[in-house]
Protein backbone atom coordinates (compact mmCIF):
# COMPACT_ATOMS: atom_id res chain seq x y z
CA UNK A 1 0.00 0.00 0.00
CA UNK A 2 2.84 2.27 0.88
CA UNK A 3 4.46 1.68 -2.47
CA UNK A 4 1.25 2.47 -4.24
CA UNK A 5 0.96 5.75 -2.48
CA UNK A 6 4.45 6.63 -3.47
CA UNK A 7 3.73 5.98 -7.13
CA UNK A 8 0.60 8.00 -6.83
CA UNK A 9 2.48 10.87 -5.34
CA UNK A 10 4.83 10.88 -8.26
CA UNK A 11 1.87 10.77 -10.61
CA UNK A 12 0.30 13.74 -8.89
CA UNK A 13 3.60 15.56 -9.08
CA UNK A 14 3.80 14.82 -12.75
CA UNK A 15 0.29 16.15 -13.33
CA UNK A 16 1.10 19.25 -11.41
CA UNK A 17 4.20 19.79 -13.51
CA UNK A 18 2.24 19.45 -16.72
CA UNK A 19 -0.42 21.85 -15.58
CA UNK A 20 2.08 24.44 -14.48
CA UNK A 21 3.94 24.12 -17.76
CA UNK A 22 0.76 24.84 -19.67
CA UNK A 23 -0.07 27.71 -17.40
CA UNK A 24 3.39 29.07 -17.87
CA UNK A 25 3.19 28.95 -21.64
CA UNK A 26 -0.23 30.53 -21.84
CA UNK A 27 0.69 33.17 -19.28
CA UNK A 28 3.93 34.05 -21.04
CA UNK A 29 2.29 34.37 -24.41
CA UNK A 30 -0.39 36.52 -22.87
CA UNK A 31 2.17 38.73 -21.15
CA UNK A 32 4.52 39.03 -24.07
CA UNK A 33 2.11 39.06 -26.99
CA UNK A 34 0.42 42.01 -28.64
CA UNK A 35 -2.63 43.34 -26.90
CA UNK A 36 -3.98 44.86 -30.10
CA UNK A 37 -7.04 43.34 -31.79
CA UNK A 38 -7.72 43.46 -35.49
CA UNK A 39 -9.83 41.50 -37.93
CA UNK A 40 -7.10 39.01 -38.56
CA UNK A 41 -6.24 38.44 -34.92
CA UNK A 42 -9.01 35.95 -34.36
CA UNK A 43 -8.39 34.12 -37.59
CA UNK A 44 -6.36 30.91 -37.55
CA UNK A 45 -2.81 31.80 -38.43
CA UNK A 46 -2.35 30.92 -42.09
CA UNK A 47 0.92 32.51 -42.95
CA UNK A 48 -0.65 35.91 -42.71
CA UNK A 49 -3.18 35.30 -45.38
CA UNK A 50 -6.79 35.93 -44.48
CA UNK A 51 -8.61 32.66 -45.03
CA UNK A 52 -11.44 32.39 -47.51
CA UNK A 53 -14.62 30.43 -47.10
CA UNK A 54 -15.49 27.84 -44.53
CA UNK A 55 -13.01 25.24 -43.51
CA UNK A 56 -15.80 22.64 -43.44
CA UNK A 57 -15.96 21.07 -46.85
CA UNK A 58 -19.03 19.10 -47.64
CA UNK A 59 -17.98 15.60 -48.39
CA UNK A 60 -19.83 13.31 -50.69
CA UNK A 61 -22.24 11.03 -48.96
CA UNK A 62 -20.32 8.12 -50.35
CA UNK A 63 -17.60 8.89 -47.88
CA UNK A 64 -20.02 8.47 -45.06
CA UNK A 65 -21.26 5.17 -46.33
CA UNK A 66 -17.79 3.84 -46.72
CA UNK A 67 -16.77 5.22 -43.38
CA UNK A 68 -19.65 3.51 -41.69
CA UNK A 69 -18.94 0.26 -43.47
CA UNK A 70 -15.33 0.51 -42.49
CA UNK A 71 -16.17 1.03 -38.85
CA UNK A 72 -18.34 -2.04 -38.83
CA UNK A 73 -16.19 -4.43 -40.81
CA UNK A 74 -13.06 -3.25 -39.18
CA UNK A 75 -14.43 -4.13 -35.81
CA UNK A 76 -15.28 -7.66 -36.75
CA UNK A 77 -11.60 -8.29 -37.10
CA UNK A 78 -11.31 -7.91 -33.35
CA UNK A 79 -13.25 -11.09 -32.90
CA UNK A 80 -11.07 -12.89 -35.39
CA UNK A 81 -8.01 -11.74 -33.49
CA UNK A 82 -9.48 -13.22 -30.37
CA UNK A 83 -10.09 -16.45 -32.22
CA UNK A 84 -6.57 -16.43 -33.63
CA UNK A 85 -5.15 -15.94 -30.16
CA UNK A 86 -7.04 -18.94 -28.89
CA UNK A 87 -6.81 -20.98 -32.07
CA UNK A 88 -5.19 -24.01 -30.48
CA UNK A 89 -7.45 -24.00 -27.47
CA UNK A 90 -10.77 -23.90 -29.27
CA UNK A 91 -9.91 -26.35 -32.00
CA UNK A 92 -12.39 -27.49 -34.59
CA UNK A 93 -15.43 -26.18 -32.79
CA UNK A 94 -13.87 -22.74 -32.70
CA UNK A 95 -13.11 -23.02 -36.36
CA UNK A 96 -16.72 -23.84 -37.17
CA UNK A 97 -17.90 -20.95 -35.07
CA UNK A 98 -15.55 -18.56 -36.75
CA UNK A 99 -16.67 -19.91 -40.08
CA UNK A 100 -20.29 -19.18 -39.26
CA UNK A 101 -19.28 -15.73 -38.17
CA UNK A 102 -17.47 -15.09 -41.43
CA UNK A 103 -20.34 -16.48 -43.46
CA UNK A 104 -22.80 -14.14 -41.78
CA UNK A 105 -20.48 -11.27 -42.56
CA UNK A 106 -20.25 -12.50 -46.10
CA UNK A 107 -24.00 -12.46 -46.41
CA UNK A 108 -24.03 -8.88 -45.21
CA UNK A 109 -21.32 -8.02 -47.68
CA UNK A 110 -23.27 -9.62 -50.50
CA UNK A 111 -26.29 -7.58 -49.52
CA UNK A 112 -24.26 -4.39 -49.49
CA UNK A 113 -22.80 -5.20 -52.85
CA UNK A 114 -26.23 -5.79 -54.36
CA UNK A 115 -27.44 -2.62 -52.74
CA UNK A 116 -24.71 -0.69 -54.45
CA UNK A 117 -23.19 0.58 -51.27
CA UNK A 118 -19.77 -0.42 -52.58
CA UNK A 119 -20.17 1.31 -55.91
CA UNK A 120 -18.17 4.43 -56.24
CA UNK A 121 -19.18 7.29 -58.40
CA UNK A 122 -22.17 7.80 -60.61
CA UNK A 123 -23.49 4.26 -60.34
CA UNK A 124 -23.85 4.56 -56.61
CA UNK A 125 -27.51 3.94 -56.20
CA UNK A 126 -28.92 4.02 -52.79
CA UNK A 127 -28.13 7.30 -51.14
CA UNK A 128 -26.99 9.04 -54.29
CA UNK A 129 -30.34 8.53 -55.88
CA UNK A 130 -32.15 9.95 -52.97
CA UNK A 131 -29.78 12.89 -53.05
CA UNK A 132 -30.60 13.49 -56.70
CA UNK A 133 -34.28 13.41 -56.20
CA UNK A 134 -34.37 16.19 -53.71
Amino acid sequence: MHATEETLWSLALYGLAVLSLVALMLGLSYALGQQRRSRATDEPFESGIVSVGSGRLRLSVAYFVVAILFVIFDLEVVFLYAWAAAFDAVGLAGFVEALIFILVLLAALAYLWREGALDWGPRQRSLERTERER
Partner: protein
Protein backbone atom coordinates in the same frame (compact mmCIF):
# COMPACT_ATOMS: atom_id res chain seq x y z
CA UNK B 1 -19.29 -28.22 -25.24
CA UNK B 2 -21.98 -28.08 -27.82
CA UNK B 3 -23.43 -31.43 -28.70
CA UNK B 4 -26.53 -32.62 -30.49
CA UNK B 5 -28.83 -31.94 -27.55
CA UNK B 6 -27.56 -28.39 -27.25
CA UNK B 7 -27.91 -27.79 -30.96
CA UNK B 8 -31.47 -29.00 -30.82
CA UNK B 9 -32.23 -26.69 -27.93
CA UNK B 10 -30.69 -23.81 -29.83
CA UNK B 11 -32.80 -24.51 -32.89
CA UNK B 12 -35.28 -21.67 -32.34
CA UNK B 13 -32.49 -19.15 -32.06
CA UNK B 14 -30.75 -20.51 -35.11
CA UNK B 15 -33.93 -20.53 -37.14
CA UNK B 16 -34.64 -16.93 -36.32
CA UNK B 17 -31.08 -15.95 -37.14
CA UNK B 18 -31.35 -17.83 -40.40
CA UNK B 19 -34.59 -16.01 -41.11
CA UNK B 20 -32.85 -12.71 -40.63
CA UNK B 21 -29.96 -13.61 -42.91
CA UNK B 22 -32.18 -15.25 -45.46
CA UNK B 23 -34.50 -12.27 -45.62
CA UNK B 24 -31.48 -10.01 -45.94
CA UNK B 25 -30.17 -11.94 -48.91
CA UNK B 26 -33.64 -12.15 -50.38
CA UNK B 27 -33.94 -8.39 -50.10
CA UNK B 28 -30.56 -7.94 -51.74
CA UNK B 29 -31.28 -10.13 -54.72
CA UNK B 30 -35.00 -9.66 -55.32
CA UNK B 31 -36.74 -6.45 -54.47
CA UNK B 32 -40.12 -7.82 -53.62
CA UNK B 33 -41.88 -6.82 -50.42
CA UNK B 34 -44.26 -9.73 -50.58
CA UNK B 35 -41.46 -12.22 -50.98
CA UNK B 36 -39.60 -10.76 -48.04
CA UNK B 37 -42.72 -10.92 -45.93
CA UNK B 38 -43.25 -14.49 -46.97
CA UNK B 39 -39.71 -15.45 -46.08
CA UNK B 40 -40.00 -13.74 -42.73
CA UNK B 41 -43.34 -15.21 -41.76
CA UNK B 42 -42.33 -18.63 -43.05
CA UNK B 43 -39.17 -18.65 -40.99
CA UNK B 44 -41.04 -17.59 -37.89
CA UNK B 45 -43.80 -20.11 -38.42
CA UNK B 46 -41.20 -22.83 -38.75
CA UNK B 47 -39.61 -21.65 -35.53
CA UNK B 48 -42.93 -21.74 -33.76
CA UNK B 49 -43.79 -25.18 -35.04
CA UNK B 50 -40.45 -26.71 -34.15
CA UNK B 51 -40.36 -25.03 -30.76
CA UNK B 52 -42.14 -27.87 -28.89
CA UNK B 53 -39.75 -30.34 -30.44
CA UNK B 54 -36.70 -28.28 -29.73
CA UNK B 55 -37.47 -27.75 -26.06
CA UNK B 56 -35.57 -30.24 -23.95
CA UNK B 57 -37.39 -32.25 -21.30
CA UNK B 58 -35.11 -31.03 -18.57
CA UNK B 59 -33.76 -27.52 -18.33
CA UNK B 60 -30.59 -27.48 -20.36
CA UNK B 61 -27.70 -25.11 -19.98
CA UNK B 62 -26.34 -24.35 -23.40
CA UNK B 63 -22.99 -22.75 -22.70
CA UNK B 64 -22.87 -20.67 -19.56
CA UNK B 65 -24.85 -18.00 -21.38
CA UNK B 66 -28.20 -19.60 -22.10
CA UNK B 67 -30.62 -21.79 -20.24
CA UNK B 68 -33.25 -23.46 -22.38
CA UNK B 69 -36.24 -24.53 -20.30
CA UNK B 70 -39.97 -24.08 -19.96
CA UNK B 71 -39.55 -20.45 -19.10
CA UNK B 72 -37.66 -19.93 -22.34
CA UNK B 73 -40.28 -21.92 -24.23
CA UNK B 74 -43.16 -19.84 -22.93
CA UNK B 75 -41.58 -16.53 -23.70
CA UNK B 76 -40.10 -17.69 -26.99
CA UNK B 77 -43.53 -18.75 -28.20
CA UNK B 78 -44.99 -15.45 -27.06
CA UNK B 79 -42.28 -13.38 -28.70
CA UNK B 80 -42.42 -15.26 -31.97
CA UNK B 81 -46.16 -14.72 -32.09
CA UNK B 82 -45.74 -11.06 -31.30
CA UNK B 83 -43.14 -10.71 -34.02
CA UNK B 84 -45.41 -12.43 -36.50
CA UNK B 85 -48.25 -10.07 -35.65
CA UNK B 86 -45.96 -7.07 -36.01
CA UNK B 87 -44.84 -8.48 -39.35
CA UNK B 88 -48.46 -8.68 -40.45
CA UNK B 89 -49.03 -5.09 -39.43
CA UNK B 90 -45.94 -4.09 -41.35
CA UNK B 91 -47.17 -5.93 -44.40
CA UNK B 92 -50.44 -4.08 -44.30
CA UNK B 93 -48.61 -0.82 -44.15
CA UNK B 94 -46.57 -1.77 -47.13
CA UNK B 95 -49.61 -2.59 -49.12
CA UNK B 96 -51.18 0.74 -48.39
CA UNK B 97 -48.10 2.64 -49.46
CA UNK B 98 -47.36 3.06 -53.10
CA UNK B 99 -44.58 5.58 -52.71
CA UNK B 100 -41.94 3.01 -53.43
CA UNK B 101 -40.44 2.92 -49.98
CA UNK B 102 -38.20 -0.04 -49.61
CA UNK B 103 -39.48 -2.11 -46.76
CA UNK B 104 -37.81 -5.45 -47.21
CA UNK B 105 -35.06 -4.61 -44.76
CA UNK B 106 -37.56 -3.88 -42.04
CA UNK B 107 -38.28 -7.59 -41.87
CA UNK B 108 -34.59 -8.24 -41.39
CA UNK B 109 -34.53 -5.78 -38.54
CA UNK B 110 -37.67 -7.33 -37.06
CA UNK B 111 -36.06 -10.75 -37.14
CA UNK B 112 -32.97 -9.36 -35.43
CA UNK B 113 -35.16 -7.82 -32.74
CA UNK B 114 -36.82 -11.16 -32.23
CA UNK B 115 -33.45 -12.88 -32.02
CA UNK B 116 -32.49 -10.46 -29.28
CA UNK B 117 -35.72 -11.17 -27.45
CA UNK B 118 -35.15 -14.92 -27.63
CA UNK B 119 -31.64 -14.49 -26.30
CA UNK B 120 -33.06 -12.49 -23.41
CA UNK B 121 -35.69 -15.12 -22.75
CA UNK B 122 -32.97 -17.72 -22.30
CA UNK B 123 -30.29 -15.56 -20.76
CA UNK B 124 -28.71 -16.61 -17.51
CA UNK B 125 -25.60 -14.55 -17.88
CA UNK B 126 -24.99 -10.84 -18.11
CA UNK B 127 -23.15 -11.19 -21.39
CA UNK B 128 -26.23 -12.79 -22.92
CA UNK B 129 -28.36 -10.07 -21.38
CA UNK B 130 -26.15 -7.45 -22.91
CA UNK B 131 -26.04 -9.03 -26.35
CA UNK B 132 -29.78 -9.66 -26.45
CA UNK B 133 -30.63 -6.21 -25.23
CA UNK B 134 -28.41 -4.46 -27.72
CA UNK B 135 -29.60 -6.63 -30.58
CA UNK B 136 -33.08 -5.38 -29.84
CA UNK B 137 -32.00 -1.81 -29.23
CA UNK B 138 -29.82 -1.24 -32.28
CA UNK B 139 -32.29 -2.91 -34.59
CA UNK B 140 -35.15 -0.89 -33.19
CA UNK B 141 -33.24 2.40 -33.56
CA UNK B 142 -33.15 1.71 -37.25
CA UNK B 143 -36.76 0.54 -37.31
CA UNK B 144 -38.04 3.60 -35.48
CA UNK B 145 -36.33 5.86 -37.98
CA UNK B 146 -37.20 3.65 -40.90
CA UNK B 147 -39.52 5.92 -42.89
CA UNK B 148 -36.78 8.52 -43.17
CA UNK B 149 -34.78 6.13 -45.28
CA UNK B 150 -37.10 6.64 -48.20
CA UNK B 151 -37.58 9.66 -50.33
CA UNK B 152 -36.85 12.68 -48.20
CA UNK B 153 -39.84 14.97 -48.20
CA UNK B 154 -41.36 17.44 -45.87
CA UNK B 155 -43.76 14.79 -44.73
CA UNK B 156 -44.41 15.18 -41.01
CA UNK B 157 -44.29 11.48 -40.56
CA UNK B 158 -40.77 11.19 -41.79
CA UNK B 159 -39.63 14.12 -39.72
CA UNK B 160 -41.17 12.71 -36.58
CA UNK B 161 -39.74 9.33 -37.26
CA UNK B 162 -36.24 10.71 -37.68
CA UNK B 163 -36.59 12.72 -34.53
CA UNK B 164 -37.87 9.70 -32.65
CA UNK B 165 -35.04 7.54 -33.92
CA UNK B 166 -32.35 9.92 -32.82
CA UNK B 167 -33.92 10.55 -29.44
CA UNK B 168 -34.29 6.84 -28.86
CA UNK B 169 -30.73 6.18 -29.91
CA UNK B 170 -29.10 8.78 -27.73
CA UNK B 171 -31.21 8.19 -24.65
CA UNK B 172 -31.07 4.45 -24.96
CA UNK B 173 -27.31 4.58 -25.28
CA UNK B 174 -27.07 6.65 -22.15
CA UNK B 175 -29.21 4.07 -20.38
CA UNK B 176 -27.09 1.27 -21.81
CA UNK B 177 -24.11 3.05 -20.37
CA UNK B 178 -25.68 3.00 -16.93
CA UNK B 179 -26.67 -0.62 -17.32
CA UNK B 180 -23.19 -1.64 -18.41
CA UNK B 181 -21.58 0.32 -15.65
CA UNK B 182 -23.82 -1.46 -13.20
CA UNK B 183 -22.95 -4.84 -14.64
CA UNK B 184 -19.30 -3.84 -14.53
CA UNK B 185 -19.59 -3.04 -10.85
CA UNK B 186 -21.21 -6.39 -10.16
CA UNK B 187 -18.49 -8.11 -12.13
CA UNK B 188 -15.82 -6.23 -10.31
CA UNK B 189 -17.40 -7.35 -7.07
CA UNK B 190 -17.92 -11.02 -7.78
CA UNK B 191 -15.68 -11.84 -10.68
CA UNK B 192 -18.42 -13.62 -12.54
CA UNK B 193 -21.02 -12.51 -15.03
CA UNK B 194 -23.38 -15.41 -14.51
CA UNK B 195 -26.71 -14.66 -12.87
CA UNK B 196 -26.37 -15.38 -9.21
CA UNK B 197 -28.23 -14.67 -6.06
CA UNK B 198 -28.01 -11.04 -5.14
CA UNK B 199 -24.72 -10.37 -3.43
CA UNK B 200 -24.61 -9.16 0.13
CA UNK B 201 -24.80 -5.43 0.26
CA UNK B 202 -21.11 -4.82 0.05
CA UNK B 203 -20.01 -1.42 -0.95
CA UNK B 204 -19.59 -2.17 -4.64
CA UNK B 205 -22.46 -4.48 -5.52
CA UNK B 206 -25.10 -2.10 -4.28
CA UNK B 207 -24.34 0.82 -6.57
CA UNK B 208 -23.89 -1.76 -9.30
CA UNK B 209 -27.40 -3.04 -8.81
CA UNK B 210 -28.72 0.50 -8.58
CA UNK B 211 -27.13 1.42 -11.90
CA UNK B 212 -28.44 -1.81 -13.41
CA UNK B 213 -31.86 -0.79 -12.19
CA UNK B 214 -31.48 2.57 -13.92
CA UNK B 215 -30.78 0.90 -17.24
CA UNK B 216 -33.62 -1.56 -16.87
CA UNK B 217 -36.02 1.12 -15.74
CA UNK B 218 -35.21 3.13 -18.83
CA UNK B 219 -35.85 0.25 -21.18
CA UNK B 220 -39.11 -0.49 -19.40
CA UNK B 221 -39.96 3.22 -19.52
CA UNK B 222 -40.62 3.65 -15.83
CA UNK B 223 -41.08 7.09 -14.34
CA UNK B 224 -38.77 9.06 -14.21
CA UNK B 225 -37.04 7.34 -17.11
CA UNK B 226 -40.14 7.39 -19.26
CA UNK B 227 -39.59 10.57 -21.22
CA UNK B 228 -38.53 8.85 -24.37
CA UNK B 229 -41.46 6.55 -24.78
CA UNK B 230 -44.31 8.87 -25.89
CA UNK B 231 -42.10 10.54 -28.46
CA UNK B 232 -40.91 7.24 -29.82
CA UNK B 233 -44.41 5.78 -29.95
CA UNK B 234 -45.66 8.83 -31.76
CA UNK B 235 -42.82 9.12 -34.21
CA UNK B 236 -42.21 5.50 -35.03
CA UNK B 237 -44.27 3.70 -37.63
CA UNK B 238 -47.19 2.04 -35.87
CA UNK B 239 -45.96 -1.57 -36.17
CA UNK B 240 -42.59 -0.51 -34.80
CA UNK B 241 -44.23 1.28 -31.92
CA UNK B 242 -46.07 -1.95 -31.21
CA UNK B 243 -42.76 -3.79 -31.32
CA UNK B 244 -41.07 -1.41 -28.91
CA UNK B 245 -44.08 -1.54 -26.61
CA UNK B 246 -44.37 -5.29 -26.48
CA UNK B 247 -41.31 -7.20 -27.58
CA UNK B 248 -38.52 -5.12 -26.15
CA UNK B 249 -40.25 -4.39 -22.87
CA UNK B 250 -41.54 -7.94 -22.54
CA UNK B 251 -38.13 -9.46 -23.24
CA UNK B 252 -36.39 -7.26 -20.75
CA UNK B 253 -39.01 -8.03 -18.16
CA UNK B 254 -38.56 -11.72 -18.83
CA UNK B 255 -34.85 -11.50 -18.20
CA UNK B 256 -35.47 -9.55 -15.01
CA UNK B 257 -37.82 -12.28 -13.85
CA UNK B 258 -35.12 -14.79 -14.56
CA UNK B 259 -32.50 -12.78 -12.76
CA UNK B 260 -34.59 -12.35 -9.65
CA UNK B 261 -35.43 -16.01 -9.78
CA UNK B 262 -31.87 -16.64 -8.71
CA UNK B 263 -32.29 -14.43 -5.75
CA UNK B 264 -35.29 -12.49 -4.64
CA UNK B 265 -35.20 -8.77 -4.34
CA UNK B 266 -36.22 -8.94 -0.73
CA UNK B 267 -32.87 -10.36 0.22
CA UNK B 268 -31.38 -6.99 -0.49
CA UNK B 269 -33.43 -4.73 1.71
CA UNK B 270 -32.03 -1.49 0.45
CA UNK B 271 -33.10 -2.08 -3.14
CA UNK B 272 -36.74 -2.69 -2.31
CA UNK B 273 -37.74 0.91 -1.60
CA UNK B 274 -36.12 2.01 -4.86
CA UNK B 275 -38.11 -0.47 -6.91
CA UNK B 276 -41.26 0.29 -4.96
CA UNK B 277 -40.71 3.98 -5.60
CA UNK B 278 -40.30 3.38 -9.32
CA UNK B 279 -43.41 1.22 -9.37
CA UNK B 280 -45.64 3.71 -7.62
CA UNK B 281 -44.28 6.67 -9.60
CA UNK B 282 -44.96 4.78 -12.81
CA UNK B 283 -48.44 3.67 -11.85
CA UNK B 284 -49.47 7.18 -10.89
CA UNK B 285 -47.37 9.15 -13.34
CA UNK B 286 -48.25 7.07 -16.37
CA UNK B 287 -51.95 7.29 -15.73
CA UNK B 288 -51.83 10.98 -14.86
CA UNK B 289 -49.90 11.79 -18.01
CA UNK B 290 -52.39 9.92 -20.11
CA UNK B 291 -55.32 11.68 -18.51
CA UNK B 292 -55.98 14.37 -21.06
CA UNK B 293 -53.69 13.27 -23.83
CA UNK B 294 -55.14 13.89 -27.25
CA UNK B 295 -52.85 11.74 -29.35
CA UNK B 296 -53.78 8.08 -29.24
CA UNK B 297 -50.23 6.82 -29.66
CA UNK B 298 -48.88 9.02 -26.90
CA UNK B 299 -51.79 7.95 -24.76
CA UNK B 300 -50.88 4.33 -25.28
CA UNK B 301 -47.30 5.13 -24.36
CA UNK B 302 -48.40 6.63 -21.06
CA UNK B 303 -50.76 3.80 -20.39
CA UNK B 304 -47.99 1.30 -21.02
CA UNK B 305 -45.83 3.16 -18.50
CA UNK B 306 -48.54 2.52 -15.96
CA UNK B 307 -48.82 -1.12 -16.98
CA UNK B 308 -45.11 -1.66 -16.51
CA UNK B 309 -45.54 -0.08 -13.11
CA UNK B 310 -48.10 -2.74 -12.26
CA UNK B 311 -45.66 -5.36 -13.48
CA UNK B 312 -42.95 -4.14 -11.14
CA UNK B 313 -45.14 -5.36 -8.30
CA UNK B 314 -44.36 -8.84 -9.46
CA UNK B 315 -40.63 -8.29 -9.18
CA UNK B 316 -41.15 -7.21 -5.60
CA UNK B 317 -43.35 -10.18 -4.85
CA UNK B 318 -40.89 -12.80 -6.06
CA UNK B 319 -39.77 -14.89 -3.16
CA UNK B 320 -42.78 -13.95 -1.07
CA UNK B 321 -45.59 -15.07 -3.29
CA UNK B 322 -45.54 -18.38 -5.07
CA UNK B 323 -47.57 -17.07 -7.94
CA UNK B 324 -45.32 -14.09 -8.60
CA UNK B 325 -43.46 -15.48 -11.60
CA UNK B 326 -46.64 -16.91 -13.04
CA UNK B 327 -48.33 -13.58 -12.56
CA UNK B 328 -45.51 -11.76 -14.32
CA UNK B 329 -45.44 -14.19 -17.20
CA UNK B 330 -49.17 -14.02 -17.67
CA UNK B 331 -49.29 -10.27 -17.42
CA UNK B 332 -46.66 -9.93 -20.11
CA UNK B 333 -48.85 -12.06 -22.34
CA UNK B 334 -51.98 -10.08 -21.51
CA UNK B 335 -50.24 -6.77 -21.96
CA UNK B 336 -48.62 -7.80 -25.24
CA UNK B 337 -51.84 -9.13 -26.67
CA UNK B 338 -53.84 -6.06 -25.76
CA UNK B 339 -51.20 -3.59 -26.84
CA UNK B 340 -50.73 -5.34 -30.16
CA UNK B 341 -54.47 -5.22 -30.69
CA UNK B 342 -54.51 -1.52 -29.91
CA UNK B 343 -51.74 -0.73 -32.35
CA UNK B 344 -53.21 -2.92 -35.05
CA UNK B 345 -56.43 -1.03 -34.61
CA UNK B 346 -54.65 2.31 -34.81
CA UNK B 347 -53.05 1.17 -38.04
CA UNK B 348 -56.47 0.22 -39.27
CA UNK B 349 -58.39 3.34 -38.29
CA UNK B 350 -55.92 6.21 -38.10
CA UNK B 351 -53.81 5.48 -41.13
CA UNK B 352 -56.58 4.96 -43.61
CA UNK B 353 -56.18 8.37 -45.22
CA UNK B 354 -53.16 9.84 -46.94
CA UNK B 355 -52.07 11.65 -43.80
CA UNK B 356 -52.31 9.60 -40.64
CA UNK B 357 -54.58 11.12 -38.04
CA UNK B 358 -53.67 10.05 -34.55
CA UNK B 359 -55.99 12.40 -32.70
CA UNK B 360 -58.54 10.72 -30.51
CA UNK B 361 -61.16 12.35 -32.69
CA UNK B 362 -60.16 9.96 -35.44
CA UNK B 363 -62.21 7.38 -33.55
CA UNK B 364 -65.36 9.48 -33.44
CA UNK B 365 -68.35 7.46 -34.41
CA UNK B 366 -66.28 4.36 -35.07
CA UNK B 367 -68.96 2.10 -33.66
CA UNK B 368 -71.38 3.31 -36.31
CA UNK B 369 -68.89 3.24 -39.15
CA UNK B 370 -67.47 -0.18 -38.43
CA UNK B 371 -69.35 -1.92 -35.63
CA UNK B 372 -66.98 -4.84 -35.32
CA UNK B 373 -63.92 -2.63 -35.15
CA UNK B 374 -65.68 -0.46 -32.64
CA UNK B 375 -66.50 -3.47 -30.52
CA UNK B 376 -62.89 -4.59 -30.80
CA UNK B 377 -61.67 -1.20 -29.67
CA UNK B 378 -64.01 -1.32 -26.74
CA UNK B 379 -62.81 -4.75 -25.72
CA UNK B 380 -59.19 -3.74 -26.10
CA UNK B 381 -59.70 -0.68 -23.96
CA UNK B 382 -61.57 -2.68 -21.36
CA UNK B 383 -58.73 -5.16 -21.34
CA UNK B 384 -56.25 -2.35 -20.82
CA UNK B 385 -58.39 -1.11 -17.97
CA UNK B 386 -58.57 -4.63 -16.54
CA UNK B 387 -62.31 -5.20 -16.71
CA UNK B 388 -63.50 -8.80 -16.28
CA UNK B 389 -63.98 -11.13 -19.23
CA UNK B 390 -60.86 -9.76 -20.86
CA UNK B 391 -57.35 -11.05 -20.57
CA UNK B 392 -56.33 -7.79 -18.94
CA UNK B 393 -58.49 -8.58 -15.98
CA UNK B 394 -56.95 -11.99 -15.43
CA UNK B 395 -53.52 -10.44 -15.63
CA UNK B 396 -54.33 -7.74 -13.14
CA UNK B 397 -56.07 -10.23 -10.89
CA UNK B 398 -52.92 -12.32 -10.88
CA UNK B 399 -50.78 -9.36 -10.01
CA UNK B 400 -53.06 -8.31 -7.22
CA UNK B 401 -53.07 -11.89 -5.95
CA UNK B 402 -49.29 -11.93 -5.95
CA UNK B 403 -49.22 -8.55 -4.26
CA UNK B 404 -51.63 -9.68 -1.58
CA UNK B 405 -49.59 -12.80 -0.99
CA UNK B 406 -46.49 -10.71 -0.57
CA UNK B 407 -48.25 -8.15 1.57
CA UNK B 408 -47.45 -5.17 -0.61
CA UNK B 409 -50.43 -3.19 0.64
CA UNK B 410 -49.19 0.29 -0.12
CA UNK B 411 -48.32 -0.59 -3.67
CA UNK B 412 -51.67 -2.28 -4.13
CA UNK B 413 -53.37 0.89 -2.95
CA UNK B 414 -51.41 2.85 -5.52
CA UNK B 415 -52.33 0.27 -8.14
CA UNK B 416 -55.99 0.70 -7.37
CA UNK B 417 -55.71 4.47 -7.47
CA UNK B 418 -53.82 4.33 -10.75
CA UNK B 419 -56.35 1.96 -12.27
CA UNK B 420 -59.13 4.28 -11.25
CA UNK B 421 -57.47 7.20 -13.01
CA UNK B 422 -56.82 4.92 -15.95
CA UNK B 423 -60.46 4.07 -16.26
CA UNK B 424 -61.19 7.72 -16.97
CA UNK B 425 -59.20 8.00 -20.13
CA UNK B 426 -60.05 4.56 -21.44
CA UNK B 427 -63.72 5.29 -21.04
CA UNK B 428 -63.21 8.68 -22.63
CA UNK B 429 -62.09 6.98 -25.83
CA UNK B 430 -65.13 4.73 -25.71
CA UNK B 431 -67.26 7.82 -25.29
CA UNK B 432 -65.67 9.42 -28.32
CA UNK B 433 -66.18 6.22 -30.25
CA UNK B 434 -69.87 6.16 -29.38
CA UNK B 435 -70.41 9.76 -30.37
CA UNK B 436 -72.51 10.32 -33.45
CA UNK B 437 -70.40 10.11 -36.53
CA UNK B 438 -68.86 13.44 -37.36
CA UNK B 439 -67.16 13.05 -40.68
CA UNK B 440 -67.12 9.93 -42.76
CA UNK B 441 -63.66 8.55 -43.16
CA UNK B 442 -62.38 5.29 -44.47
CA UNK B 443 -61.15 2.25 -42.66
CA UNK B 444 -57.82 0.83 -43.64
CA UNK B 445 -57.02 -2.81 -44.23
CA UNK B 446 -55.69 -5.20 -41.63
CA UNK B 447 -58.88 -5.51 -39.70
CA UNK B 448 -58.63 -9.27 -39.59
CA UNK B 449 -55.57 -9.01 -37.43
CA UNK B 450 -57.53 -6.79 -35.07
CA UNK B 451 -60.40 -9.24 -34.96
CA UNK B 452 -58.06 -12.15 -34.36
CA UNK B 453 -56.25 -10.43 -31.52
CA UNK B 454 -59.50 -9.28 -29.97
CA UNK B 455 -60.95 -12.74 -30.15
CA UNK B 456 -57.87 -14.15 -28.48
CA UNK B 457 -58.07 -11.47 -25.85
CA UNK B 458 -61.63 -12.37 -24.96
CA UNK B 459 -61.03 -16.10 -25.20
CA UNK B 460 -58.12 -15.95 -22.81
CA UNK B 461 -60.10 -13.60 -20.62
CA UNK B 462 -62.91 -16.08 -20.30
CA UNK B 463 -60.95 -19.27 -20.39
CA UNK B 464 -57.31 -18.66 -19.52
CA UNK B 465 -56.75 -22.20 -18.36
CA UNK B 466 -54.68 -23.42 -21.32
CA UNK B 467 -52.09 -20.76 -20.62
CA UNK B 468 -52.39 -21.03 -16.88
CA UNK B 469 -51.74 -24.74 -17.05
CA UNK B 470 -48.55 -24.00 -18.86
CA UNK B 471 -47.37 -21.45 -16.37
CA UNK B 472 -46.39 -23.70 -13.45
CA UNK B 473 -43.81 -25.24 -15.77
CA UNK B 474 -41.86 -22.07 -15.30
Amino acid sequence: MIGAAELRALLPLMLVALTAIGTLLLAGFRRDARLAALGYQGGLLLTLLTLPWALPEQPLEVTPLLRIDGFFGYFAALFVLVAMAVGLMMQRQVRSKTSGERVEESYVLLAICLLGALVLAGAQHFAALFVGLELISVASFALVAYPCGGRPSTDIRQRNSLEAGLKYLVLSSVASGFLLFGIGCLYLDSGSLAFAPLPPSTSLALPGLALLLVGVAFKLALVPFHFWSPDIYQGAPTPVAALVATLSKGALFAVMLRYLWFGALQELETLVPAVALLASLSMLGGNLLALRQRDIKRLLAYSSIAHLGYLLLVLLAIGHAGVAIEAGAFYVLAYSLTTLGAFALIGCVCEAGDEPDYRLEAFAGLIWRAPLLGASLMLILLSLAGIPLTVGFIGKFYIVAAGVDAGLWWLLAVLVAGSAIGLYYYLRIILIMLAPQSEPSGIGGGRWLVYGLTLLLVLLGVYPLPVLQWLPVL
